[in-house]
Amino acid sequence: MDTFSEQVEKEIVARGVTPLPRWHFLVRRSVFWTLAVFSIIVGTIAFSAADYVFFDNEGMSAATILESPIEVIVQTVPFVWLIVFGLFVASAYLGLRKTRSGYKYRALLAVSGVIVVTIALGMLLNLFDFGQTVHYYLLHHTTFYNALIHSSDDVQVPF
């Protein structure tokens, strides 16, 4: 009767199993790192645009802000960019979680880390007016962006 190790070896032969090549694992790990880095880059762009749209609000007078601050906030918060930012923060976390040592970090710590890095990079880019460039590029070269970015302009806050 076969020993257990002989049974395992027979099964390996029967199924034609061979060790997967080293490059297979390198590619797999690279995919997750690429996803994480790409997501952080897109999240950074989203934050820099959101930062620009929210704080460099043209035509918003101090009187309007004082009169109805909540309405002003609701109308000026760039929800589209914040949604994009949130999605790519989540995607960056998932990418990092799947890397070789990603399991070592608590979800809250990893997500906070991604948010801090993304916001810091976004603010850094805005020192060079990057958010403004992205905002006006999309305004002039796409049709959907104008509608999306101004989708909350007519929102009336019921209080």
């Binding site: 070896e9 060790p19 997967l20 070592k104």
Partner: protein, 188 residues
């Protein structure tokens, strides 16, 4: 001279027959571990063990020597067992008391409940108490007290942060102590 695990992995990558060294070295502890996770049927446990070794062989080039080979094999065995439970859509909660003798002996030191449960405590009680715990606590207690794994190894095997290992281990011990105290109070 016997080969180290790392040498055996390298030998297997050159010659498939060398894999028997690793299989023979780890088949007994991995089989016990699979059974302690709740696989009661010996044939099913052996099937899971075979799948574990096939996965180990398939992924040999992914083995990272910065961690012990045994931890890597335990991680694969754990994942294969969980895949089996998911396919069955059922994880047994009635466990084999025979598996709990080790923990039964170490309970007074580990759980600090010696005085309260000293009378009438048996390995069957321990087995029943462990069976009532959430799987997340049960898995950690099994690795810590039966397999004698360090926090780092448990973190690697279960793919959870070290802090979570410490938290869940403390909660698991507390929950087990509570179960045993309740059992004792109910029985007397």
């Amino acid at each position: 001279m016997s080969l180290t695990d790392q040498q055996a992995v390298e030998a297997t990558l050159r010659d498939r027959h060398a894999f028997s060294i690793l299989v023979e070295r780890y088949q007994a502890p991995l089989l016990r571990y699979i059974q302690r996770l709740g696989t009661l049927d010996a044939d099913v446990a052996k099937d899971i063990l075979q799948e574990t070794f096939i996965k180990v062989y398939l992924n040999l080039n992914d083995y990272n020597p910065t961690h012990p080979f045994s931890s890597w094999a335990y991680r694969i065995a754990h994942n294969e067992t969980m895949i089996h439970f998911r396919r069955q859509k059922h994880r047994p909660v009635v466990l084999d008391p025979e598996q709990y003798t080790t923990l039964f002996e170490s309970i007074p030191d580990e759980l600090d409940i010696e005085k309260e449960i000293d009378v009438g405590r048996t390995s069957v009680d321990v087995g029943q108490a462990i069976a009532k715990l959430k799987p997340v606590y049960r898995d950690i207690l099994v690795l810590r007290f039966f397999e004698n794994k360090s926090y780092d190894e448990i973190s690697y095997i279960l793919e959870i942060p070290n802090g979570t290992v410490a938290t869940n281990l403390a909660r698991g011990k507390k929950a087990l102590a509570l179960e045993l105290k309740n059992k004792y109070i109910t029985d007397i």
